[in-house]
């Protein structure tokens, strides 16, 4: 039922005011029911015994039919129609966004809930969902960097890839450390051939560049060279956080409170020089806010075209009332014809 009304509208609803005619008309018809008829004067009506034949009954129904057809016409004039919306979004050329995600061991720190990495994954997916017209790619880095997903418009794959980031697996594969320069450089490499209007890297880290073959400043130069905007996000609370400091023999991590160290100076510089912005995420809420802000800053124009398929429903209404009126006329002048 709800569905029916959702896809149903009256084009000129004020035409329903014509329905007010129905009671007025009915009063008028009742008053004038004999007026237009020539009447024969008769001595005694009682002598017919008040017997109602079929004709008498139909004669009473006729004005009711007339009123009904008036009501139907009024509704018909209001033009009821059902709507079928087919929305076709025209994809405008969006921007390309590379997400450079730090997957060093410190990302397991629990200052964000449940830990930095998981919080990041969740927020990143939401971010991608909100931007259907942009292309995304994912670069993961620790002591070295690799491209998890090259830049693509298939967001499902990107989201899946992010969801599947498994720290333990990566921990075994990658060199330890935080190679911010490598991460950024890899991301830039992926974006350099892109023809998108705007190219963006979102660089996330929670530490200080301490390894890697490419110096962050070199990577910065590269980014500048290709006109790539870099938003930098520093993850981690101010002060101390429960951070893994070692691996136990059974493979689980040893957690200790360690001082959170983020090379903010570097990140700020990268952001400033490429036209991006530096953010500091001290908790989950803050992180979400940052993504929202980036979302706002990187507005892309979306052109959406909606196609409305209207199905006019007045036709049967008018048809019925026309049939009714002609039936009334027909009966009046044939079967119910008066002698005088």
């Amino acid at each position: 039922m709800k569905n029916l009304f959702e896809h149903f509208e009256l084009y000129t609803p004020y035409a329903l005011l014509l329905l007010a005619l129905v009671p007025i008309l009915s009063v008028w018809l009742y008053r004038k029911r004999y007026a237009e008829k020539p009447k024969m004067q008769y001595a005694d009506l009682n002598s017919f015994g008040g017997f109602k034949t079929l004709k008498n009954k139909v004669l009473i129904i006729l004005p009711v039919l007339l009123l009904l057809s008036v009501a139907l016409i009024s509704i018909g004039i209001a033009r009821p129609r059902s709507i079928d919306v087919t929305a076709k979004t025209k994809k405008t050329k969006g921007i390309d966004i590379m997400l450079a995600v730090d997957v060093s061991a410190s990302m397991l720190a629990r200052d964000l809930k449940p830990n930095r990495l998981e919080a990041l994954k969740k927020t990143a997916i939401n971010f991608i969902k909100k931007r259907p017209n942009d292309r995304f790619g994912v670069v993961l880095y620790a002591g070295e960097a690799f491209t998890q997903v090259p830049i693509t418009s298939d967001q499902r794959i990107v989201m899946q890839a992010i969801r599947k980031i498994n720290f333990r697996q990566l921990f075994n594969q990658l060199d330890q450390g935080t190679a911010i320069g490598m991460g950024l450089a890899t991301a830039v490499n992926r974006l350099k051939d892109s023809k998108a209007k705007s190219k963006v890297v979102i660089l996330m880290t929670d530490g200080v560049n301490n390894t890697g073959e490419i110096d962050p400043y070199t990577a910065l130069e590269l980014a500048k060279e290709f006109g790539i905007k870099v938003y930098t996000i520093g993850l981690g609370t101010n002060g101390y956080a429960l951070t893994p400091v070692g691996v136990r023999p059974d493979g689980s991590f040893e957690y200790r409170n360690a001082k959170v160290e983020i090379d903010e100076k570097l990140l700020k510089k990268i952001a400033a020089e490429t036209g991006g912005k530096y953010f500091r995420a001290t908790d989950n809420r803050k992180l979400q806010k940052i993504y929202k802000e980036i979302d706002k800053l990187e507005k892309t124009e979306i052109k959406e075209t909606k196609y409305y398929n209207y199905k006019e429903l007045y036709r049967p209404l008018i048809l019925i009332s026309v049939i009714l009126i002609s039936l009334i006329g027909l009966l009046r002048y044939t079967w119910l014809k008066s002698f005088i």
């Binding site: 009447k39 004067q41 001595a43």
Partner: protein, 288 residues
């Protein structure tokens, strides 16, 4: 209707009905309604053919020529005409309306009465007494009665015969000849009729239109009741409707006959397409 028209119409009716009463009804009426007896009025010289038994011997002896006694009927009768002028009387599908026919009948009766030196009075009634003209003699009085019958406009349209009869009973102290002329589209007058019939010489004249008896097939017609003013569509094409209509008329007619017979009164019924002259003559003849 202007006064001139009315006078013209009165005149027309006078000519028609006076002739009728002079030549046809006069005698019949006279012998139908007898007075209380014969009284001596005068003596006149004997003429050939007079009954020898009527010779007044005292006077004959005094004048030495034969004289006969002349007797005259003691009449001074009163005729009361109670006429229904309710709405239904203005109906008629034949040459004339019921009311027009009633007017002629009343005129005939009134002229017959004056001719026989009787007084004539008139009551016009609907569901109440519309007009009462006390009994009087003379041609001009009869003409007034006719004029009222032609021109009188009743205030009410319905019929109440019983009430008219009650009024008549109260107004007439002496025995009178009463004609109750109506279409008798009414009920519950039987009891009152009995009381009136016991005191007066009562005759009921029922005037009806043939359509009241048998409705022709007119298909669907809008009919307006002249008495109640109600309008309704009647499907005269339906046999059952027509049958009911006929049955209702017969019932009404039956009630009329029975009521008057029980009251010991005479009845005449005449349709507007029939001849009231014939019917009335038959009635008078049967009486005398």
């Amino acid at each position: 209707m202007t006064t001139k028209d009315i006078l013209k119409k009165v005149r027309k009716i006078e000519i028609k009905t006076k002739r009728l009463s002079d030549h046809i009804f006069g005698g019949e009426y006279h012998s139908s309604f007898k007075g209380r007896g014969m009284t001596f009025s005068e003596v006149r010289p004997y003429a050939f053919g007079d009954d020898v038994r009527n010779i007044d011997w005292n006077v004959t002896a005094r004048y030495r020529t034969p004289f006969v006694k002349v007797f005259e009927e003691e009449r001074e009768l009163t005729m009361m005409l109670a006429v229904d002028i309710s709405g239904s009387e203005n109906f008629g599908t034949q040459t004339q309306l019921k009311r027009e026919m009633i007017t002629e009948i009343v005129a005939t009766l009134a002229f017959s009465a004056t001719q026989n030196n009787d007084k004539v009075g008139l009551i016009l009634y609907s569901d109440e007494i519309e007009l009462f003209i006390p009994p009087a003699k003379g041609r001009s009085h009869v003409l007034r009665i006719i004029r009222e019958l032609i021109d009188f406009k009743p205030k009410h349209t319905r019929t109440n015969t019983a009430q008219a009869l009650k009024f008549l009973y109260n107004v007439l102290k002496k025995k009178a000849i009463v004609f109750l002329i109506s279409d008798f589209i009414d009920t519950k007058y039987e009891d009152t009729l009995k009381i009136v019939g016991r005191k007066h010489d009562l005759t009921g004249i029922m005037v009806y239109d043939p359509i009241e008896k048998e409705m022709p097939d007119l298909g669907l017609v809008a009919l307006r009741d002249l008495e109640t003013g109600k309008t309704a569509y009647v499907d005269t094409g339906n046999k059952q409707v027509r049958h009911t209509h006929n049955a209702m008329f017969l019932k009404r007619h039956d009630y009329f006959k029975k009521a008057f017979q029980k009251a010991g009164s005479g009845i005449i019924w005449v349709a507007t397409n029939g001849s009231y002259i014939k019917k009335m003559l038959q009635y008078f003849k049967a009486r005398s």
